[in-house]
Amino acid sequence: MAGNLSLLVFSPLVFGILLLVVRKKGNWIGILATFFPVIVGSFFFHQYFKKGIQSISEKWPWISFHPKGFDSLKDPSFLTIDYELQLDGISLAFILLTVLLTFLAAILSWNIEKHRNLYFLLLLLLEIGMLGLFVAANLFLFFIFFEMTVVCLFFLSGKYGEKGKEKAAFHLLLYNGAGSAFLLFAIVLLFLQTGTVHIEQLQHLLHTGSVQLNELTKWSIVLSILIAFGIKMPVFPFHQWMVLMHSHVHPAIVILHSGVLLKIATYGLFRFGIGLFPNEWEKISGLLLFFALVNIFYGSLFALRQMDLRRVWAYGSVAHMGFVLLGLALGSETGIRGALFQSISHGLISGLLFLIVALILTRFKTTDIGKLSGLRQGSPFAVFLLFVGGMASLGLPATSGFIGEFLVILAAFEHHPMVGTLASVGIVLATGYILRAILSISYGPLPSMEGEKGTTKDFYSDFSDENKGNNWKWNMEKKRDPRVTYEVYEWLPAIVFVLFLIGLGIYPQWLIEFFVGA
């Protein structure tokens, strides 16, 4: 088995290397390179469920930090860091989400022309980072992959998007940098106190009490971890960067950002918060519940008064991540499963929602709710998608959104009925902001659009702060009315998203099986 997990993590590069050599057809290579991880991922899926292997791991000796004069025979593993990867059900769920979303995002990026090879290369490096951090078996590797995602995302978001993208990129960098600074501090402290960064060993050491941390150390580690992932999630006061990212960056990147990268927070809090410090977690769960509710209400209320569709989705994400935090904060089995389910399902939902954003942007050049109307006549397919995405997002039964929120609220009612009630009110608010956005876009008269049939004007040029080169160039010279017809690279990912959303809503057990260990 050795080496297989590395193959999974670095699988995007197998064909991605071609991007360095071949100048043309970058989009084909990019799609091929992101498809390969899907195959490898399904191979692991097959092994995990069909063969009943519970966890797959891989280990190579790597670095030792023995101080001078240290007797390495006594305890050779002390202060060493190995290259260790481990895959269990929860990692696998996130891995599958990652490979799927990256593949679909790559398809959606078909039209990118500005430095196309660089774009796909960065996308693949980002995928490596994401895959790596979900299978990293120690905190050090986790951190390395975590930082890798931040750097790749910085370049992707700063280069591909519309006006304001650079500001968004710097917000991303500095907020996430601050987060990873806290994380780094926590990791170094843990490493020095326990001599290891391996997650299972740490669990063992901390739970059996073979390593006693003093209160100050323990709490500074717990709080650092909370702040680090709180920024990533994002929890209320730290959400500004994420709203900027959502509203200024190319939708294909936002799909990954909102779909996978925010979920790192769920994964991290679950693995390192609950996993390593269950007692401390219980003690501060009250505070976390408060923040979760703040997130839900703040996100929903702000989403209600946004005029930009992308900002509605962004604040909606804040609210949805509030549910995730709520489930994690409850700490019960149902709660955690609900949170994990909600993470995966929200990944798919926001994938679909931002795919719609891409469709609307390419056709109508704007996502302003005030300007858009009557999409039902001009673009029925987009409206269909909007309804599926919106319904899933507001938690209508038979969509995956329902299951996650239902599990979380169920868990909340077990111990904190008041919290459960409030969270339910949050769902009602979600109905409000989503229906407001969808209805005002879908109905009403078709406005006169600038990008009329047969214009060759690049639709993106008037937003763009630079006039040369466009991010998405939409071929307006086609004979068909582009507002009604859809290209393969548009409807194919959309259909996949819809299938997954409804499939998971009807048969959630399929996904919950991944979380058996939790």
């Binding site: 670095i63 101080p67 910085f154 710097f170 960098l173 500095l174 601050a178």
Partner: protein, 486 residues
Amino acid sequence: MDFSYEWHVMTPEFSILMTIILIGILDVLLPKKIDRKWFGWLAVGGTFLSFGLFLTLLPLDRTSILFDTFIFDSFAKGFKFILLFGGTLLLLLAVGSKKEQGMEKYEMEFYVLLLTALFGGMMITSSNDLITLFIGLELVSVSSYVLVGMNKWSKKTNRAALTFLMNGSLATAITLFGMSYLYGIAGTTQLQTFLQHFSEVSNPATRYLYIIGFCFLFIGLSFKWTTMPFSLWAPDVYEGAQTIVTAFLSAFSKIIGLIMFFRLIFTVFSETVLDQHVMFSIFQNSLLILALLSMTFGNMMAIGQRNVKRLLAYSSIAHGGYMLAGIASFSAHSMEAVTYYFLVYSLITIGAFTIVSYITDGNEADEQTFTGLFKTTPLLAISLTIFFISLAGLPPTAGFIGKWKLLISIIDGGSPIHYVTAIGMIGMTIVSYAYYFRIMASMYFQYPNKEEKFSVRLPLVILLFLCIAVTFLIGLLPNFGTPTWI
């Protein structure tokens, strides 16, 4: 007394010295019309020879010659390796880059001075005596004064040279003053016997003399490695000097100062017990605070800079702070961490300055020059990105492992001030993202002001390849960066 010294431990130094003499003589003897350009390759050859000889010496145990003033121990091995490596890279950079206007005539002087500085640095790593330490230091200082001021037609350079000379000579005087106190207490200049002499001192009042001595020594030396509050000369000098000389000051002369300080702490200060006080612990906190201050100052000032050389000067002040913190924490991990960081730092600084020199081509290093670099010369842009990411301490480059090791070494100290320093260091790293990534953003996200491609020069390509390869090699496999013989 046995005078049959084991001279062979000095062969690396000798080969450098012979190269210096050879270049000097050849310049005098050769007819004027012969191009002096290949002197650079001669110098590179000399360092290669020295490097080879050094490698053959590695199996040796601790050896000392010249009445124990010149020693070859694990400390010397580790740092000599870094210096030779950095020196070779610097020479490659000098060979490859275009000289400033009017500097073509001074090939000989340039290489001789660079080699002399290298020679001085190597002497410092091995010396076990205040006198030889001082001589080594002066060799480095004097050659750098001349190097900075070589372009005598430029106003900026003249100002830089004068600033540097004034500050530097003052610093030297202060260092010497501090040394004289130590000599006064111990009655010897031999580092090894210092300890023994100190322990014999019974008068408690000498403690204060000792503290004064240490402080002066520290202040004098800290001019060299530019930490707060003795760092204000750096930006002006870095900006005014030729880019190669700036690289030399930033990557080489800085490290030499730190090596000297580390040697003194390592052998003398850390173990001195005077009047039941471990002397180093008295200074430790203030050193850590100074380190913290220079990280903060350097990074904060760098944000506002528009001239890349000035920016790198402030960033180098910040890095001086990181390294000083690593030395001052003086835990079990310090030696390894600091050695590793020196190696990484000199590597990536030289790499970064290589590209700066490449792009500015002897002109002003304004940030505008870097705009849209990715569009014109992607390879240079990507290389600079790697160096900046490494300087910012992001994985998977060696800069991250270096920061990680320094952090371990600092936190391992265990006292609250250590924690504060560690937190400050992590926080300041984030601040440093702001300016490293600002330049990267202008390279990638914006369009070039003028479309011009930069021609490729072979020595620079070799150099960049070396720097990048080693940065990734020791970043991904850090055990390579800390050889067992250190």
